[in-house]
């Protein structure tokens, strides 16, 4: 175990290699360029492959090929590039191929800007591409989680044969923090279902998302939905900090959760009972836990760097059992600790929380 100081993007890249990823396909876009640049240097050292694709579309399809061939394969991009990958992500989900896709999100819509943003939440958690499918979506909140969650992402992608997304942003990717790196793993590309050449098998392996007969397609979808139900039952991750005695619980993930944590620390010093609830899996969403907290009479404030996306899932989870307030920063800037502090303090004064 080594402790090193790394940028989030580079920590994630090294974490992927330590988790046995030997295939990276990507395309340049800010603010994720540290990932492909790190991979271009590092992959040759571990006998891996770094390939700069001609487009985001090709990169995701190279991942589909490499993941289908049994390897741990990674691509990364930022918001506009992730939009281009959606076709491929839908095919990968339909064909049940494991892979990991990283979105170092920036502001939109359209070309948007390079600032950090959380406005890709809907795209990440509600589908993004065509068809009824789900990604497991992890939202790292620290440099260490960049390393830890990329390893977990590869394990879960293989366990469920499903694409997994890491939803990071420009701050999480660019900020330097100390991280502890795990030991190096080597994972052979020899999955029983993979396209490896059929040596040793009597029947060919086929990776496919076509169900041209209606009943066949329905069967595929029933199987997918059963898998998503298992994921919802087994894979929810969250952090609940000081929620037990709290009157008001602030829900936030990633970069905004860091700002919220600092604001809550100030309020706690003043004796205010405020807690932080941080979803680590954005899908499956920790709705059960939030519902239980709502049943206990807790009030909620959702803070995110968007016009209000995460807040919809919180409202659905709470389901009218409690009040849900919203504080959003539109793409271009990030909330300051002072702004969030004032928002919470004002809600407490208004009795938004008792």
């Amino acid at each position: 175990m080594e402790r090193v100081m790394m940028k989030g993007n580079e920590a994630l890249a090294e974490g992927a290699i330590r988790a046995g990823c030997r295939f990276f396909f990507g395309y340049p876009i800010t603010p994720q360029n540290e990932i492909p640049e790190y991979m271009a240097r590092r992959m040759p050292e571990v006998n891996g492959v770094f390939l700069q694709a001609e487009s985001e579309v090709s990169a995701i399809n190279m991942i589909y090929g490499a993941g289908g061939a049994g390897a741990r394969a990674l691509t990364s991009s930022s918001s506009p590039g992730i939009s281009l990958k959606q076709e491929g992500i839908s095919y990968i989900a339909g064909a049940q191929v494991p892979c990991v896709v990283v979105n170092v999100a920036r502001g939109g819509p359209g070309l948007g800007g390079l600032n950090p943003s959380q406005s890709d939440y809907f795209q990440a958690t509600k589908g993004g591409g065509h068809g009824d499918y789900r990604l497991i979506v992890y939202a790292p909140g620290t440099g260490q989680e960049m390393v830890d969650l990329i390893g977990i992402a590869f394990d879960k992608a293989e366990q469920y044969r499903n694409p997994v997304m890491i939803l990071s942003d420009a701050i999480m990717g660019q900020m330097m923090e100390p991280v502890i790196l795990p030991e190096m793993q080597e994972i052979p590309a020899d999955k029983a279902w993979a396209t490896t050449g059929k040596k040793g098998r009597s029947k060919p392996n086929v990776i496919n998302s076509l169900g041209i007969i209606g009943e066949d397609l329905e069967k595929i979808n029933i199987e997918l939905q059963a898998k998503y139900a298992r994921i919802e039952a087994e894979e929810v991750r969250y952090e609940a900090d000081g929620v037990d005695d709290a009157d008001l619980i602030v829900v936030a993930y990633g970069t905004s959760s860091r700002v919220v944590r600092s604001a809550i620390a100030l309020l706690r010093e003043e004796g205010k009972k405020v807690g932080l609830f941080r979803p680590i899996t954005l899908w499956p969403f920790p709705k059960q836990v939030l519902q239980e907290l709502a049943n206990k009479g807790k009030k909620f404030l959702v803070v995110e760097m968007s016009a209000g996306q995460l807040v919809e899932d919180v409202i659905l989870a709470v389901n009218d059992r409690s009040k849900v307030e919203f504080f959003g920063k539109l793409n271009g800037t990030i909330p300051t600790v002072r702004e969030v502090y004032e928002e919470i303090a004002s809600l407490l004064r208004k009795g938004g929380a008792k």
Partner: protein
């Protein structure tokens, strides 16, 4: 008695969905024969397109991945990079390869990606019902060029082999036809050569096969084959546009 003709082992015995008179069946057989002759069935991985050959994975007795429309060369790239010892081929039609997948094929060729591409050019979108393709001939009537392809408004067909031959990456580029037995034999030799490229560790190989589509051309199978000979070959001349020998001299 010596067996001189039989069903290729690499071809599954499943009945195909191809229309009567379509030459996909012949081309499938040629691919399967190449796999048999080279003894690589256990290490061959195919990539199927979106288009008439979308179900190709049911017709070959090898591992397969089904790609999104036009993306087969990218998918094949991912597979080949994971299994460099495998024989990886993509099987694509003209809309798939020369229109929506133009970027993928050009860059796979430019990289000299060590894959084989079987490019079936029948001058029309077959699976979707006969729309104009990037290879539809000037004046040719299709459902989306009902008055004939007007080059003044929609431009000209793409000659893929000639286009790719401007790149340094490819090792083997050939255009063949399957309109008569003599040409079928030559097409088989070209397909086999494309597969041999990978066994010898050389780069990108593409064989363009001029193919008939009696259903969407509105012709009898016999007339459709005649149309390949009379109309397609003059626009798409047969031949080798890049050979390994040439590549070797290039490097020297």
């Amino acid at each position: 008695m010596k067996k001189v003709f039989g069903y290729p082992h690499a071809l599954s015995e499943k009945r195909t969905h191809y229309c009567p008179g379509c030459t996909h069946g012949i081309i499938h057989r040629l691919v399967a024969e190449a796999i048999d002759e080279l003894g690589v069935e256990e290490k061959t991985i195919g990539v199927a397109p979106v288009g008439c050959a979308v179900l190709a994975y049911e017709y070959f007795n090898v591992d397969f991945q089904e790609a999104a429309h036009g993306r087969a060369p990218a998918v094949a790239t991912g597979i080949k990079r994971v299994h460099p010892g495998a024989v990886v081929f993509a099987y694509q039609g003209d809309g798939d390869l020369a229109s929506i997948g133009a970027a993928e094929i050009i860059h796979a060729a430019a990289r000299g990606e060590k894959i084989a591409v079987i490019f079936v050019n029948n001058a029309v979108y077959g699976m979707t019902g006969g729309q104009m393709a990037p290879t539809t001939l000037p004046g040719q009537k299709t459902t989306t060029s009902p008055y004939g392809r007007d080059t003044a408004t929609v431009g000209y067909p793409i000659r893929v082999c000639e286009l790719l031959a401007t790149l340094d990456g490819p090792s083997y580029l050939a255009r063949v036809s399957v309109h008569d037995p003599q040409h079928i034999i030559k097409a088989g030799q070209a397909i086999r050569k494309a597969f041999e490229m990978q066994i010898s560790g050389q780069g990108f190989a593409l064989v363009e096969v001029l193919s008939s589509c009696p259903t969407n051309w509105g012709m009898t199978p016999v007339n459709a084959l005649q149309w390949v000979k009379d109309k397609m070959i003059p626009y798409y001349p047969l031949g080798v546009f890049r050979s390994p020998e040439e590549v070797t001299s290039h490097d020297a």
